[in-house]
Symmetry: C2
Subunit: 137 residues, 2 copies
Amino acid sequence: MKTENNSSIFPLGNIGSSEWFSGEVHVQGLVAPEQMENLYNVGQVTFSPGGRTRWHTHPIGQVLLVTEGRGWYQEWEKPAQELIKGSVVAIPKDVSHWHGAAADSQMVHIAISNVKDGSNVTWGSPVTDEEYGAVDH
Amino acid sequence: MKTENNSSIFPLGNIGSSEWFSGEVHVQGLVAPEQMENLYNVGQVTFSPGGRTRWHTHPIGQVLLVTEGRGWYQEWEKPAQELIKGSVVAIPKDVSHWHGAAADSQMVHIAISNVKDGSNVTWGSPVTDEEYGAVDH
């Protein structure tokens, strides 16, 4: 028996900045670095259908735990990999990548990263409709 | 409308060692340190009712994200705090503590820690029935 569960574990949070995301994306911070050794950064990200990050890198990598829905993870010049509830992604440091929802589904993931020299991410250019369409078509 | 959701996000995993836990506790590793900069350690822990960790400490702290059920978190010589779905605990480094399920409910949490000098945890003595009963009674 399959049941739909639309109640996320954590609150939806606030709309993420368009300097980081395309489409409608909500971010709920869970643990801020200043709470924890200036190191841990943990949050929940909810991507509406078609919503996605920009291309970006992490100085000490990032872990994604997909808790709901369906979407995509893609590293620069590599094939995209489909994400579903229960998917785990271990993103290497300094590798340019994006993640986001499928065109016809939301996706919710927990994102875990570590801070280096005060930052846990470097943002790049948006994932264009052409780049996204080449993955989700 | 409230619905019961008994399908965890990740697999149940294997029975945790009695050197770490009391009662029935399952552990599913999600990210091992050797996958990620020898740093990140991420897993899901499922405590059956009454199941709990030993007293223990973490050298760089730990984050707990409660995804199902109800239970307890207690630091040494402090009052216990109740955990429910959506609870977030930021555990300071080197502080002795335990976590586990309520006597009448399972609890599932994601545990996130960082590794220092090859270890992310130091295990101590079991939480006795007296200590547990003083919290959950």
